[in-house]
């Protein structure tokens, strides 16, 4: 008891400045808590509950929702089985995940969707349990490979589901679905491209090096909204005329710009990893007479990427957050829906904070999950502690 008192005294008081800091912290806590309480006690959530559909899928026509639901089912299977197989969360993390999961379900459950949400939650739970069961059997290696393969093909699969049987036009995609698709495409196209540009910039051939450097620095030079504006005004004039490519929808243009942007930023991150490789590794590979391709895939890249995985994931988080900038292209992503409803629907005037907080919550969950993943990877690899 005496020891605890001593600890408390040293932590919260002890010196004049520390007491002052404790006092200030209490004031800040009190200020935030009272404002938060005031907001929660006066808030009305009708603006969200009446517009769940718009927030999630935007203007996707009625009767096409099965596409969004099946994407959700497939990804829930993937996420929850990979959670068990690759991440192996602790009990504390599992509880946190469950709370987040339940609150998301609670926000978006409606009369029509109740059946789908039940399928979704059973599927998530059963895939987690299935993965838990299979990890004790010898089939685990095959299952791992299957999961990895599915992660690689998830983006084409989502496109297939969205476009099969006369799917709705891409301009009708919206809401959170659009953010996920844009971020997925930007990352899965931008990462391999970025790898190439990083290798090009680290190359010893001056011509390749200069061209790659110019590309990376130009893209990084202007803000993303600037590039998106360029896509809005002039990109169609630069696309070739065959297959009517110059009349592609705004969504495709946004994907092109986001991918180019991601590639430049990942290239810079990977370059950092390439620079961290000791010269002896490359000399050793040369003395084994490995050719360029083998040297890169077996010696250089595994070491380089391993070091920069946390930085890569934070780049991906940034890209995911940046998908909210497609308002420049007049696309209705999650944030735009959340902004437009309280402005245009007279029923919900003055409810902007409620809508905005739900939008922020959804963005926060995904980014938070990814950044937790990055901390785990960092810890499991012992980066920074070696």
């Amino acid at each position: 008891m005496n020891q605890q008192l001593k600890w408390a005294y040293n932590t919260f008081s002890g010196s004049f400045y520390n007491t002052l800091i404790t006092f200030l912290s209490l004031v800040i806590f009190g200020f935030i808590a009272s404002n938060l309480f005031g907001f929660i006690s006066t808030s009305e959530w009708a603006v969200v509950s009446a517009n769940k559909r718009l927030l999630l899928v935007g203007r996707l026509p009625q009767g096409e929702e099965w596409r969004a639901w099946s994407i959700l089912w497939i990804s829930s299977f993937l996420i929850f089985s990979s959670l068990k197989i690759f991440v192996k969360p602790s009990i504390k993390e599992l509880i946190f995940i469950t709370i987040i999961f339940a609150s998301v379900c609670f926000i978006f459950i409606t009369q029509d969707a109740i059946f789908n949400v039940i399928i979704f939650s059973t599927l998530s739970l059963s895939s987690y349990l299935f993965a838990k069961y299979i990890s004790q059997t010898p089939y685990i290696t095959i299952f791992r490979k299957l999961l990895a393969f599915m992660w690689l093909t998830i983006i084409p699969l989502i496109f297939l589901i969205l476009l099969i049987e006369d799917g709705p036009k891409p301009t009708l995609w919206g809401g959170f679905l659009l953010n996920i698709i844009l971020a997925g495409v930007a990352i899965s196209v931008g990462f391999p491209l970025g790898l190439l540009f990083a290798l090009g910039r680290a190359s010893q051939l001056p011509a390749v090096k200069i061209v790659c450097t110019i590309y990376i620095e130009t893209i990084r030079g202007a803000p993303l909204v600037g590039w998106l504006l360029l896509a809005w005004f002039v990109l169609p004039k630069f696309l070739p005329e065959f297959w009517n490519l110059n009349e592609t929808s705004v969504v495709i243009r946004a994907m092109i710009i986001l991918s180019a942007f991601t590639s430049a930023y990942t290239a810079e991150v990977i370059r950092g990893g390439l620079q961290s490789i000791p010269k002896g590794q490359i000399e050793a590979a040369d003395s084994l007479n490995l050719n360029l391709f083998t040297k890169l895939t077996l010696i250089v890249l595994p070491q380089a990427i391993r070091v920069v995985i946390p930085a890569l994931i934070s780049t991906f988080i940034a890209v995911f957050k940046d998908t909210s900038l497609v308002f420049v292209l007049a696309l209705t992503d999650l944030l735009q829906v959340g902004r437009i409803i309280p402005e245009q629907d007279p029923e919900f005037f003055g409810k902007a904070l409620e809508a905005l907080s739900v939008v922020a919550f959804l963005f926060w969950i995904v980014s938070m999950a990814l950044s937790n993943l990055s901390t785990r990877v960092e810890r499991s690899m012992g980066i920074g502690t070696r």
């Binding site: 209490l26 957050k321 922020a360």
Partner: protein
């Protein structure tokens, strides 16, 4: 033919020749692509000649520069550039302060303090900046309306049209530019003086003495600065006077506000959002750098009997600064580019003005190149400045 192939195979055996060949191939491919892009671009209007004509739109925030809708587009563009620099500069300074405080707080042994820093980082970093800009705009618009404006004496007026603060305004009878120039000179002189005195003290290894009084270099510099600036102020017959904000009703009963420094909701929203968002990243940079220092440094400081504050400011932060500055530069560049997001709340900075010009003129490509060029120049200036500081910091004791 055989001789030719023989020669070729001999040539290809040299690594240098093969490299040349690959580069040539690569350049030809890039050349085709560039040629395609240029041929498409040539079909568009590429000159900036339309920037000479009348802009035709008003800009709500003008700073240091007069602008009306009758001025040229160049004038509008420069107003935008000044607005970008203004918000970025203030945000960079404040974000660095906030980030440093929070970075130290995250490692504080005071649990309350470190929890605040932890929650701040985790909540703010993981939501898009755009959401935060809109959030602060909503908050600023929730301030009382101008009919019920809060006034603190006649010094500060707070309403949802903005916050008015006391400000110095040039006295119309006197030429105030001379004062600014003289003040600049005085600043340089007093800095030089304190630098010289401190240096002399370091070299001599003892305090300077004038008639048994110890002279401290920094103190002497400050003293000289105060004496000189106050006396010039009165010699030049008060070139600047205090400008207090006022709130009044005109003959029709409409409330109007005038005077003072106007802190508008748009400027406030973008400033708060940029500072608080970038502050999280700086927090993490500062924390990482402090943690990367060996624990022996803190322990050595403690064993010398330094207080926490002293060990932080004298031992830890100066060393951490070396590894802080390169990633910090990156965050400053990001902040400057992120200021373009204020287009969403209509703060007329570079990007918003350029977008209006694009819409009005229909010539998007040259305007885009101008945007690209401007941001690249701003980035270059920041990088050069930070590199200068970095060189100074790393040189000490390195």
């Amino acid at each position: 033919m055989d001789i030719f192939i023989d020669k070729l195979s001999k040539l290809s055996r040299s690594q240098r020749n093969r490299n040349l060949f690959y580069q040539l191939l690569f350049l030809i491919l890039v050349g085709f692509f560039a040629n395609y892009l240029i041929s498409k671009a040539m079909q568009l209007e590429l000159t900036l000649s339309h920037f000479e004509s009348r802009s035709g739109f008003g800009i709500s925030h003008t700073f240091l520069k007069d602008y009306t809708s009758n001025d040229s587009r160049w004038s509008a563009y420069f107003t935008g550039v000044i607005n970008t620099i203004r918000v970025s500069l203030v945000a960079i300074i404040l974000a660095t302060l906030l980030g440093t405080i929070m970075g130290v707080a995250r490692l504080s042994k005071n649990v309350l303090f470190s929890t605040i820093a932890y929650l701040y980082v985790e909540l703010v970093r993981n939501t898009p900046l755009l959401i935060q800009i809109i959030f602060w705009q909503i908050i600023f618009l929730k301030l009382p309306r101008i009919t019920e404006a809060l006034t603190f004496g006649s010094t500060v007026v707070v309403s949802n049209r903005g916050i008015l603060l006391p400000y110095a305004k040039p006295n119309e009878d006197v030429n105030s530019n001379i004062f600014v120039i003289v003040l600049l000179f005085i600043t340089i002189i007093s800095f030089a003086l304190s630098y010289y005195l401190n240096k002399k003290e370091d070299i001599d290894g003892k305090k300077l003495k004038i008639q048994n009084y110890n002279i401290n270099g920094s103190l002497a510099g400050t003293f000289v600065f105060l004496i000189l600036s106050v006396s010039t102020y009165f010699i030049l017959q008060r070139p600047f006077v205090l400008d207090l904000p006022s709130l009044y009703q005109n003959s029709k009963g409409t409330y109007l506000q005038s005077g003072g420094f106007e802190f508008t909701p748009e400027f406030g929203a973008i400033l708060f959002a940029l500072v608080i968002y970038t502050g999280t990243f700086i927090t993490e940079i500062v924390r990482g750098s402090i943690q990367s220092l060996s624990k022996g440094q803190t322990e050595a400081a403690q064993s010398l009997g330094l207080s926490n504050y002293q060990s932080m400011t004298l031992i830890i932060l100066p060393q951490a600064l070396r590894s802080i500055i390169p990633p910090l530069t990156n965050q400053f560049l990001n902040l400057t580019k992120n200021s373009s997001l204020s287009v969403v709340i209509a703060y007329p900075e570079l990007f918003m003005v350029s977008r209006t010009i694009m819409n009005n003129s229909g010539r998007a490509l040259p305007v885009f190149f101008l945007i690209l060029f401007t941001y690249l120049s701003l980035s270059l200036i920041i990088s050069l400045f930070m590199n200068f500081i970095n060189r100074r910091v790393t040189r000490i004791g390195a």
